[in-house]
């Protein structure tokens, strides 16, 4: 075992050494071209260029924070987890919505990186945008399990809803969503339609629709079946192409619409609380 591990480590190290001098562009510094504006305080939009040092693993967020800490503390930016799980740091990087903490400078071309606030969100300051509308769209699709047993009533009878790994796979991917809003920023319908729930909210509607613990099937369909609802998605796919978490909102939306068009049937049964108890009984006999 010991030798194997060492061998593996050595061979990978060689490979990495090669890669290092191969495809990745290694630079020692990069120029950030940062969108700046604070309209409420009368500061008009302009771009500031700041040069910062970078290394192989430096992300755009690292670079921006370096700029903030050592060059210009007034850069307005939202961030938190720095590991692509909180959804704070969405911004346009070289014109495309991305997470700053998930985009390495070495993955980008050119010696300048342009960072701008997400489009389709009202602007607050510099790279920071207002998510209130986005969140309220999410709220409006009733993103929670609806089912008369959703709150456990009898604490002495504890049991889960049965859910096979296959049942889980039907919605799991849509629950990867970190609400970063990149999809919302990329969608062409959202670009003009303020009432369109957007890819995030619509794919969450499907996430709960197809969860076999939920039985608000009709209600969910009624919510999205609106002039500005699900039908305003034209499968432009941009949402899925920018989603950093593989949610594939376009897929969720089309699948939900498949049910509304009668192409698919929702065969799910409400995972019955009693199911397990019954099975247990059977097993005992």
């Amino acid at each position: 075992m010991t030798e194997q591990v060492i061998e593996k480590i050595e061979s990978m190290e060689k490979k990495r050494e090669k890669e290092k001098h191969g495809k990745e562009t290694i630079r020692s510094s990069v120029v950030l071209k940062i969108y700046r504006a604070n309209k409420r305080a009368g500061e008009q939009p302009h771009y500031d260029s700041v040069e910062v040092p970078v290394q192989r693993w430096t992300t755009v967020l690292d670079a921006l924070l370096h700029a903030k800490q050592y060059k210009d503390p007034s850069i307005g930016i939202r961030y938190s987890c720095r590991m692509a799980s909180c959804g704070s740091c969405g911004m346009k990087i070289n014109g495309i919505p991305r997470l700053a903490c998930y985009t390495k400078v070495s993955e980008l071309e050119g010696s300048t990186v342009t960072v701008e606030p997400l489009a389709n969100f009202p602007h607050i300051r510099d790279l920071v945008t207002d998510f209130a509308q986005f969140f309220s769209h999410h709220h409006d699709v009733k993103p929670f399990v609806q089912n008369e047993n959703a709150d456990i009533k009898d604490k002495n009878k504890l049991s889960e809803f049965m859910q096979s790994p296959e049942d889980l796979d039907k919605f799991l991917q849509f629950s990867y969503c970190i609400k970063c809003g990149l999809c919302y920023s990329a969608c062409p319908t959202v670009a003009t339609d303020t009432k369109f729930p957007g890819p995030q909210a619509l794919s969450q509607a499907y996430r709960y629709f197809i969860d076999n613990r939920d039985n608000a099937t009709k209600d969910r369909i009624n919510i999205v079946d609106d002039k500005h609802g699900i039908w305003r998605c034209h499968f432009a796919g941009s949402c899925s192409s920018v989603c950093p978490k593989g949610v594939d909102p376009a897929l969720g939306i089309q699948l939900l619409r498949g049910h509304m068009l009668g192409f698919s049937k929702n065969e799910k049964k409400i995972a019955d609380l009693q199911d397990r108890l019954r099975k247990d009984e059977e097993a005992k006999q």
Binding site: T2, Q69, R82, S85, F144, S164
Partner: protein, 571 residues
């Protein structure tokens, strides 16, 4: 005076604890009007980063039992946990797991459709309930989404709380700044719950989100409440280089090996019974010893490290249950764990300490509760077991939410705000910090402080190092750094950072003083100059009270024993 917003219950912080408390308070009575105030957007709290699992006893018919969970927790804590508290945690957890399931949590499932559990460090049974390797994320999502059901929960996204208001020994409200507008505002309410999470950013090499600063702890501290057991900082064995992002213990739970530069599974030497799945303090110490004895690797940044080998698990299993870890490896370290062992090093991960609270999560101030990592009701003692923290957040989130709601109903509308306190607070942050002057870069101060902590208050500590560190922190504190360059009102993160740094310095000081005072090695606190546990002198909780700029006033607090007498801790 500043604008005022009134509610019945103020929940400060919107991590797992805060959101669970919100739901609990909201469902206690629909007339309770709840505000959840968070300095980040509510769903972005640090809890989303929790990866590996939530501990609960679910399968008694398969051999698990609650007694064992309690004992594992107490033993893991190196007998510093309050045993009645540990018991309460264990007894409440199964319900919480099933409740989360009912609310839509995508728990990973076994073939038979039931909830799956995996092994975790320090447990005698696989009882870390998991949802792939994004447990905290899914829990946050489930709770956030469930909050949408309640009309009486109001979210205040991106409001930075600065101080607690009190009158006559009772909680009356808080002061906060709305980031978007920069407005300084009073929130008044008869009840409050502090759920501001951990303070791990006082270290440089840390798994925490950038938002995990101790401003919540410091708020309580300045309000005269005690911080308890702050010297106990958990170092997680597997932080990825160079960033410190976490590789979950679940990776070892699934069967990963830690290897040194000889290719040995060195944990065989240190914890033959549990190997890589010994509690975190044990594994981290073993790793540092390996490194000190020259059997470590050097990362290309020049930092010493060891390797975590998962390659033998196979691509399929890895993609199924450790997909997030694989992503982290590839993205942040350039290593695909399917092909290659990944470089890791012990990393600051959890604060066992926090705001002193009793078994119900009540603080010393009437009307104020605390839950989650910010609280210290002594569930974890000197060392927390993995997967027990999300559990703690959820259990005490529920308990405090309910208690606060009931208290608020009984005292609805009865608040009195002392104008003097508000003015004083305004003076502190605006005159003291915002309009402050200085030529020292606050970010540089922060860097030096966190580097000092990394260097001197790491896995192993000693008198000399800690004294030097304390001196350094006090120097930094006294230097001319208190100023904000960004003069705008709107979304001023520079101002926020400076307020955070202010609280970090005070908290770091408490950690160091606590560590100096505790002349023994217990759990995560390991002194090379006092290498053994000393139950005669130190089987006590540390309390630290605010006492002006000179440093904290320290006191001891007894540990509650209900079941087990301390024995030597071996794995």
């Amino acid at each position: 005076m500043a604008d005022t917003i009134s509610h019945d219950v103020l929940i400060i912080g919107s991590g797992l604890a805060g959101l669970r408390a919100a739901i609990s308070a909201a469902s206690t009575d629909k007339n309770v009007d709840i505000a959840v105030i968070s300095k980040v957007q509510v769903m972005r709290s640090h809890s989303v980063s929790a990866e590996g699992g939530t501990a609960a006893v679910l399968y008694e018919e398969e051999g698990d039992n609650q007694e064992s969970h309690i004992y594992d927790t107490v033993k893991g804590s190196d007998f510093l946990a309050d045993q009645d508290v540990a018991e309460l945690l264990v007894k409440n957890m199964p319900y919480e797991i099933y409740q989360l399931d009912h609310w839509g949590m995508p728990w990973s499932r076994r073939k038979d459709g039931r909830i799956a559990q995996r092994k975790f460090g320090g447990y005698s049974f696989p009882r870390a309930t998991f949802a792939q390797d994004k447990v905290g994320f899914y829990e946050m999502q489930t709770l956030y989404d469930t909050c949408q059901k309640y009309d009486n929960i109001h979210f205040y996204n991106e409001w930075f709380c600065t101080s607690i208001l009190q009158d006559g020994g009772r909680f009356q409200g808080i002061t906060a700044i709305e980031l978007k507008t920069g407005n300084f505002t009073i929130f008044r309410a008869p009840a409050g719950i502090i759920c501001t999470g951990g303070a791990g950013r006082i270290f440089s090499f840390s798994t925490y989100a950038f938002s995990s600063t101790p401003d919540g702890l410091d708020m309580a501290f300045r309000a005269g409440l005690a911080l308890k057991d702050m010297e106990f900082v958990q170092f997680h064995p597997t932080g990825v280089l160079p960033s410190g992002i976490l590789i979950t213990e679940g990776a070892r739970g699934e069967g990963g090996y830690l290897v040194n530069n000889k290719g040995e599974r060195f944990m065989q030497k240190y914890a033959p019974g549990k190997l890589e799945l010994a509690p975190r303090d044990v594994v981290s110490r073993s790793m540092i010893k390996e490194i000190q004895e020259g059997r470590g690797f050097k990362h290309e940044t020049g930092v010493d490290c060891l390797k975590l080998d998962l390659t033998h698990l196979g691509a399929e299993r890895i993609k199924e249950v450790l997909a997030g870890i694989r992503e982290i490896g590839i993205k942040f370290s350039g290593v695909d764990i399917i092909d290659e062992p990944i470089e890791v090093r012990p990393v600051c991960h959890y604060m066992m300490g926090g705001i002193h609270a009793n078994i119900d999560g009540a603080t010393e101030l009437a009307g104020l509760w605390t839950a989650g990592e910010a609280a210290c009701n002594s569930t974890h003692g000197a060392n927390r077991l993995g997967a027990n923290s999300t559990s703690e957040c959820i259990v005490w989130g529920r308990i405090t939410g309910e208690l606060a709601a009931k208290h608020a109903l009984a005292h609805k509308g009865q608040t009195s705000i002392q104008e003097q306190q508000v003015l004083q607070e305004e003076k502190r942050i605006y005159d003291g910090l915002f309009r402050g002057r200085g030529d020292v870069n606050p970010y540089e101060v922060r860097k030096q402080m966190t580097d000092t902590m990394d260097d001197k208050a790491y896995v192993f500590r000693n008198e000399q190092g800690l004294t030097e560190a304390l001196k350094k922190i006090r120097e930094l504190k006294a230097s001319m750094w208190k100023h904000v360059d960004d003069k705008a009102k709107e979304y001023n993160t520079n101002f926020v950072n400076v307020m955070e740094i202010d609280s970090m310095l005070r908290t770091a000081e408490v950690v160091l003083v606590g560590a100096l005072n505790r002349r023994e090695s217990r759990g995560a606190h390991s002194r090379t100059d006092y290498p053994v546990r000393d139950d005669t002198h130190f089987l006590n909780h540390t309390l630290a009270y605010f006492a002006g700029d000179g440093g904290p006033k320290m006191a001891w607090h007894p540990v509650t024993f209900t079941r087990y007498a301390p024995v030597e801790r071996k794995y």
